[in-house]
Symmetry: C2
């Protein structure tokens, strides 16, 4: 199976329906397919061959979608670069992936010269923006206009479809190799519980480079739905596009949902079309989820849990499990129908129901390995299982509860403390806007629980208030021993995950 099968199906079933809405542009599936085939012809013209990496560094747009399908149509491999990276990190990604071509938009045109200077192997830069053509770049629309449509490349299902660099929340970013089969299989895993069909109108508000959004991309194309695109998460743009496109589905990370429901802008907004809100990519505090469910009463929430290495879905928390009082709200959901999930000890034996171990997954959606990193691949893919690095347990109904990233677990006074649990307690305080709990080195305890907190506007809670609030919600040994308050938002990865590594560095410095 190949990714472009989804595009073929969309054209077969919905040729004249709207495929994309972006800014002042709209196009049908037939038009999109035609542009995709021409783009593939252009890539061949630039010398791109099977499985060659073609990178993109851009905000969201309809052209981002054309890039994704055009690269696949040409038989090449995508390398969607994290837009939050600093130029040296961008250069690292492009160099490590050996990308021969880079697509950039207006937002990233200014860094092109700097990146190119470090990358003699980068042959072409294609400019997909609307502004002035940067020096030395190829004009996207010219490429499309000047090339005949290419035939869909003959691609095996196990061919490399893309390199997806991990967020780097736990060290050096690694290129996850995903095959066409893995990406299509993940799409099939998502469809039954997400309720996509050809009436679906999906809004890309989270960054399109990230698999949390991209997995939806392929599902929406497979059903022949419509893609609405805004350049980046912005509450006004999001609400305006929901109203304009009659958006039915969107995917947001918890921090975005927090901003949305705290914005005061939902009242009076025309969002009656919205049926499903997907969330994931970082832990969802229960208090925030309940607030969001209350603020969006007509919307079915679905959580996706997974990681890049699983293309990305491992478990899904279906809409039916989302109701006040549900004991599954703090869960990551049940295994997707096509994913085999096991909770294992370090030796690779399954642990008993209810016991914490490492969440492991098996299925056609799992990565082929890390690009050029056989040792890390061997550590992560063991005996046919993906070791996710997440600690969790499965309850008697098959719901997986993530207690922490293995690397974020705090060991204090010999006790294991899951940072997520402490954060959940702190989030229940009404003054708290954002928090992250980490372990600080401590002579006495090994590690000491420390909370970093951003208060809501007008919030007045003190360290003593927060600790008093948590007492009774969690065991005493889990209570924060110190708290630092900050004005600015917590540092986020491109996927919206809080960068605890950054916080640890700041507090150490």
């Amino acid at each position: 199976m190949r990714i472009t099968q989804t595009l073929r199906r969309a054209v077969q079933t919905r040729a004249d329906a709207t495929a994309t809405i972006c800014g002042n542009r709209e196009q049908t599936w037939r038009e999109l397919r035609d542009r995709v085939a021409r783009l593939a012809g252009a890539l061949h013209g630039l010398g791109v061959q099977a499985e060659d990496r073609v990178a993109i560094l851009a905000l969201n747009s309809d052209r981002y979608l054309e890039y994704l399908y055009g690269v696949s149509w040409a038989g090449a491999a995508a390398n969607p670069v994290n837009i939050r990276l600093a130029p040296p990190e961008i250069a690292y990604t492009l160099e490590d992936s050996e990308s021969r071509v880079l697509f950039v938009d207006d937002a990233f045109a200014p860094v092109v010269a700097q990146i190119r200077a470090q990358l003699p192997a980068l042959e072409h830069v294609v400019f997909i923006g609307d502004g002035e053509l940067p020096e030395g770049c190829l004009a996207y629309e010219d490429l499309i206009a000047n090339h005949a449509p290419a035939a869909e490349a003959e691609v095996r299902g196990d061919a490399l479809a893309g390199l997806f660099y991990t967020g780097g929340t736990t060290g050096k970013s690694k290129g996850v190799m995903l095959s066409h089969d893995a990406i299509v299989y993940n799409m099939l895993n998502m469809l039954p519980m997400l309720g996509y069909d050809q009436t679906a109108v999906y809004l890309h508000a989270a960054p399109m480079f990230h698999l949390a959004d991209m997995a939806n991309t392929h599902a929406v194309t497979a059903v022949g739905g419509t893609h609405c695109v805004i350049p980046r998460f912005d509450i006004d743009a999001l609400l305006a596009m929901i109203a304009r496109g009659k958006v039915t589905h969107t995917m947001l990370v918890p921090t975005m949902i927090n901003m949305l429901v705290s914005s005061g802008k939902l009242e009076g907004a025309d969002i009656a079309s919205l049926r499903r809100m997907l969330y994931g990519a970082s832990p969802m505090p229960e208090a925030l989820l309940l607030r969001a469910m209350k603020a969006l009463p007509g919307v079915g929430f679905v959580q996706g849990y997974g990681q890049t290495e699983a293309a990305p879905v491992v478990t899904l928390l279906p809409a039916e499990a989302h109701y006040p009082g549900s004991d599954k709200l703090t869960s990551a959901g049940v295994p997707a129908y096509g994913v085999d999930v096991a909770i294992m000890d370090e030796a690779g034996s399954e642990v008993a129901t209810g016991t914490v171990g490492e969440v492991c997954a098996r299925g056609l959606n799992i990565m082929q390995g890390y690009w050029k990193r056989p040792e890390q691949t061997a550590e992560t893919l063991r005996d046919g299982w993906l070791r996710t690095g997440d600690l969790g347990y499965m309850d008697g109904d098959g719901y997986v509860f993530i207690v922490d990233r293995a690397k974020d677990m705090i060991i204090s006074g010999g006790e294991n403390i899951f940072s997520v649990e402490v954060e959940g307690a702190i989030y229940q305080h009404p003054d708290v806007q954002e928090t992250a709990v980490i372990g600080l080195p401590s002579e006495q305890w090994g590690e000491a629980v420390h909370a970093v907190i951003v208060l809501r506007e007008g919030g007045t809670a003190t360290e003593a208030d927060i600790i008093a609030h948590c007492r009774g919600l969690i065991a005493d040994y889990k209570l924060p021993r110190s708290i630092s308050f900050r004005e600015e938002a917590l540092p986020l990865s491109g996927a919206g995950k809080i960068l605890k590594t950054e916080l640890r560095k700041e507090l150490a410095g």
Copy 2:
């Protein structure tokens, strides 16, 4: 991915829910998994190794399900034998597949001695019936009781999961090799449009050896639903089980649906629980479909079209397309989300929308090939595509309309005549219970259109009546030139397909 992943998931999510209801037996998913693991242990004890074929010849039962999962759990390959075959044909299947073990029930115990005499390579026969143990057979319950549960076999996704012999409607039966990946992928293709979730209660009424039923088997297990089983299609047993099990889904072939809606037994039957009726495996006359929709107003109909070589689903006609006046009722539906479908000419080029060609399919669900028949494999799998041998066209909405099996098309006076179209016209006559249209050798026309008809009880239509009825519904050159009426039902394959080869033989003889 492996088939037993579906069973693992059912135990994880629904351990204490009812897995099977059959006769006076019921069991939970946990109990079923335990029996399956013990059966796998027993198979290992009998010397069964990876990918060894283990056959079954039995009516439907809960033990059929245990067999399917037990064989997979052991890492072996299933060979579910068509129950309509004559003993020499059964022997051929077992010999060709080199099956080392055969499971039989009460219904087939009498033919065991005869089969065994022809098959020195058959090492063991396991008796899964309730009657007296036939001589030389192993008792199923003893095997289960006397073996410890085996660990789930380590099986690669591309390992052979089973040999599924084709119906032989067009020549010698061939063993279709399906991998674990193909069967699981097909399961994922079915889920979104069939509406299975953990509340599903599925009735096995069509024969379990056939993929039309078996594909549902894996879907129902994956969601953790319930399997209700009756030994064979029987209207009283079917209605009684729907009422007893609160059945939500079932799969019937068109001839069964015809019998059901003609039985006069629907009125007063307790079938309010039924949400979905799947149909397929042979063409559905529109008149019959409309009658069935009227007779079962609360039921959503879904058609599956495919073949054993596709594991089996290629296209699905969703419930939403089933309404009186829909122009899709004569269609086989749209491509399943994970199947790439193309209508091709003989040379392998796609034909234009609306043009008749051969229906071709591509995807992870496609067979690995025919067992020990590389030449027929090469004819059928060409350039990565499965050539189905069915003629059809795709309309502008992606709906595929099957016009005929390539081998059932009649060429009369130089014109191509699709037997299915003539049958559709005849079926609209109220006196007609069943019909099959074939070409008879004709000196004048090459072939001449001939209809075989079974009238309803009390039906009085004559040859002239039928031809007059068809005039105006179809072009004159397509009208039957002769008709034979018969009392007994038309000859059916094990899958409920009308055996036109038999009719041709009878009429020639």
